[in-house]
Symmetry: C2
Subunit: 206 residues, 2 copies
């Protein structure tokens, strides 16, 4: 066990600058915001990309229903008000992660343009990378990984995005992915190339 020697430390006050953490991580924090219908491939692509980033030595983390809906946002339902608050909190958490230097991925339907744009506005230009999973609804509905479209069509679920609640497509997303045309691996590769082109992965080497 190494004994700490306080004399070896230069002491500072106040928050650590974000740049110091980014230097340590050899990357820049950013928020990769996946949006699209249920079944459009958001989580699948996000996980695939997360693995590829970590494999290359980058710190990446996916926020999704698994770790948000049962934790931070477990006191929110599906009313219009709660949906807005759900997306707002995710944006604020994303901002904290970005400030920490983490390449942060979020996988939520996030159907309303104003909520997504509000989260974009929390960050600096270039830090918010909106990935529109533009998979045709008939493909999403055929996949129906959670059986939700079936229930929505049967009227068992009300206010389901794409069935009886609107999905507002992004007007200027950084990337558009159609999961009917690209595999999760191809989609991830496309996003990695975009991150590289934006100098968000400065130390990435092959």
């Amino acid at each position: 066990m190494t004994k700490i020697k306080a004399t070896n430390i230069t002491w500072h006050e106040g928050h650590v600058d974000r740049g110091e953490r980014e230097k340590l991580l050899a990357q820049k924090g950013c928020l990769i915001w996946f949006t699209g219908l249920s079944g459009s491939g958001k989580s699948t692509v996000a996980y695939t990309l997360e693995h590829a980033l970590v494999q290359r030595g980058h710190l990446a983390y996916v926020l999704d229903g698994d770790n948000i809906r049962h934790g931070l946002n477990k006191n929110l339902g599906f009313s219009a008000e709660d949906r807005e608050e759900n997306i707002r909190r995710i944006g604020e958490v994303g901002k904290l992660f970005v400030d920490t230097g983490v390449i942060t991925l979020t996988a939520f339907i996030s159907p309303y343009r104003k909520d997504r744009d509000a989260n974009r506005a929390l960050l600096q230009p270039g830090e918010f990378v909106e990935v529109f999973m533009d998979t045709p609804i008939d493909v999403c509905e055929e996949r129906d990984p959670k059986g939700l479209y079936k229930k929505a069509r049967a009227g068992e679920i009300k206010g389901f995005t794409g069935v009886d609640d609107p999905y507002e497509a992004p007007e200027n997303p950084e990337l558009v992915i159609n999961a009917a045309e690209l595999s999760p691996q191809e989609a991830s590769t496309r996003i990695l190339e975009f991150l590289e082109s934006m100098d968000l992965l400065p130390e990435l080497t092959d």
Copy 2:
């Protein structure tokens, strides 16, 4: 610019295991929870420790009023219900940070034992490090960095912890620090030594 070669990537599904990120960071995620009266030195010690950790190559981040009250928790006031929700959200965000592998520090009065214990219960044993800033109230009040005790004594602020709202001291905190006896540097060194002794900084070298 390096062209991504998808063939060099081994593709995976599902969330990245926390262990993979911790290996990459050469550290273990933990939540260092500072609690104590206003003016007891929570933020000062947390910032000092954050700097020392980053300087030694560790990824550390402080959650405090600066980045939480104006962001994630800006829709919360100071009612009993809102105070509980404030601490609950911070605990849930802390859990996400710990899962990312970050050495996470929180600096909030967090006066109620049950709220702190609920956050401890969100994590695995050993991951929650409660640091009780046990600085005598007369010292805190003399410091009064934000002029809040003065206002509370004058009746201008109601429900102020230590004046007309209780502070419930931890029963079994991992560490107790009295800022009247230890400088922020000495306090940080003590916490670093504790983290080392708990094997939370496996790669720390002098």
